[in-house]
Amino acid sequence: MKLGLVIDLDTCVGCHACATACKEWNGASAIAGPLTDSDPYGADPSGTWLNRVRHYEVGAFPESKTINMPMSCLHCEDAACVTVCPTGASYKRADGIVLVDESRCMGCNLCAWACPYGARELDASSGTMKKCTLCVDRVHDERLPEAERQPACVLACPAHARHFGDFDDPASHVSKLTAERGGFGLLEELGYKPVNRYLPPREPPVVPSTAPARADAIHAPATPLDRLIALARKALAG
């Protein structure tokens, strides 16, 4: 088994619902919780999160695109965080999930240094390392209806940009999505074989149109009014 997530950069709207749902579920879970905050309503709020969403702009205007990028543990096949851990607190399960046994963690930060993605955060109040559990206490819980045996972030996503499944099964939803859409892992150059896949934005179909091309529309010739304003500005400045 190789459990993991597919995250669709085409449909993610960057709403942070996955991050807050994660914080809500795991903050109360016996495995990763509590996820403590310091000064939450004050001038310098900070806290432990297992999933963070960042926003980027790629390309130059007008040919640019905003990319919303949620990031949590990618549950690497060759997880350096497990290799470097001196106490045995970090471990990888047979189903592929990388977890921290906090009763063994000494808070040395070495696993956070070894992770290229910033997936691990030291909790200031417990002094132990916290990370995404892939909601291990949901996905195998047979008391839940089958449709709810998914990580909290996947259930919360309003854009259906997140998918959970077994990448070892070529017929699984996540394997098919990855194959169809050219899913990729982050910083695979480093060789840690991250399991989570990101789907690049789709190429939209070309719609025949008589309207001027996008770049031309942006740089349309100035109207007489534009010229008048420019003249007035010049006169005022001179």
């Binding site: 950069l9 991050a19 310098d44 900070s46 806290g47 999160w49 963070r52 960042r54 926003h55 980027y56 702009e57 790629v58 390309g59 130059a60 040919e63 640019s64 695109k65 905003t66 990319i67 990028m69 990031m71 350096a80 290799t83 470097v84 851990c85 001196p86 106490t87 045995g88 607190a89 063994r104 963690c105 000494m106 808070g107 040395c108 930060n109 070495l110 956070a112 240094w113 070894a114 992770c115 290229p116 993605y117 910033g118 955060e121 030291l122 200031a124 417990s126 002094g127 132990t128 050219g182 990729f184 910083l187 150059e189 480093l190 060789g191 990101y198 690049p200 934005p201 789709r202 190429e203």
Partner: protein
Amino acid sequence: MHAAFSVIAFTVLSGAGLGVLALVALADLGATYLGWPVLASRQSLALAAGIGLVLVVAGLASSTLHLANPRNAWRSASRFRTSWLSREAVFALALLPVAAALVAALWFDVRPRRMWGFSLATIALAWTVLACTAMIYASLKPIRQWHTWRVPLAYLVLGHASGAVIVEAIVRPDQGATWIASAGVALLLAAWLLKEEYWHFTRSPENALTLEQAIGVPRGVGPPGTRQRPSVMAARLLDAGHSKGTFLTREFVNADPGARRTLVRVGFFVASIALPAVWLAAGLGHPLAGAAVALSCLAGLLAERWLFFADARHTVRLFHGDPRT
């Protein structure tokens, strides 16, 4: 990378202490079995080795101060097969009794039949612990400034160079300049050249990863119609998703040596290289001069070690908007 003072102090003090132990063991081994000139009285050597042992223990104690949950520190030796930190802990624990036995044998001037065994074991373990410490950093692929052969080499040479200064500071008052002084000058010059080459390496873009690589621009992340030329596309951070500092920004992002880099490099050269080398070569015998030079050498190394952290650019910085590592 954020530089915790306890970690900086640990690598500098332990490094110097391990250098002292290796050099003293080497000196006694050479004088006893190989006909090398006697470095100093065995009591002086015992004093030097004792100070080396104290430095190692002080460094190890300091390293536990940066642990957020030190109650579990005793477990740190449990992953010897994979973790360099575990290996360091195991070899350091093995070194302590061996080095203590060496100190005792020197102090009481006893020569057990297998004295060479103690000396050789001390040398081998000191070198191994130094190498393990360095490999904790050099094994981390997300930090390209650390993931290089230069790091273990520099740790070994800097440890022995500062160790030689300390040994000479202790043995010179009763013995005059020794071969350790010449070896120390050579080690200091080698350390200086290694660090200059290292700083040149950290500034070059060799093996640097970019923000575009991190978020997958070469793999098709970008605006429609531009997929054929992703290599020319630049990406920038619009919003990091948090309004104030996080564990990640404090640990990986905020450190920036800035203008202090030049200051540290000059300070390191003057305090840790030039002053000790001149003192070693000039042969001033006053005990206080030796102590002052040894302290100056360690202080310069603390600054050098701070820069080692401040210069290290982890890939997490890319996701926070840095254009390259």
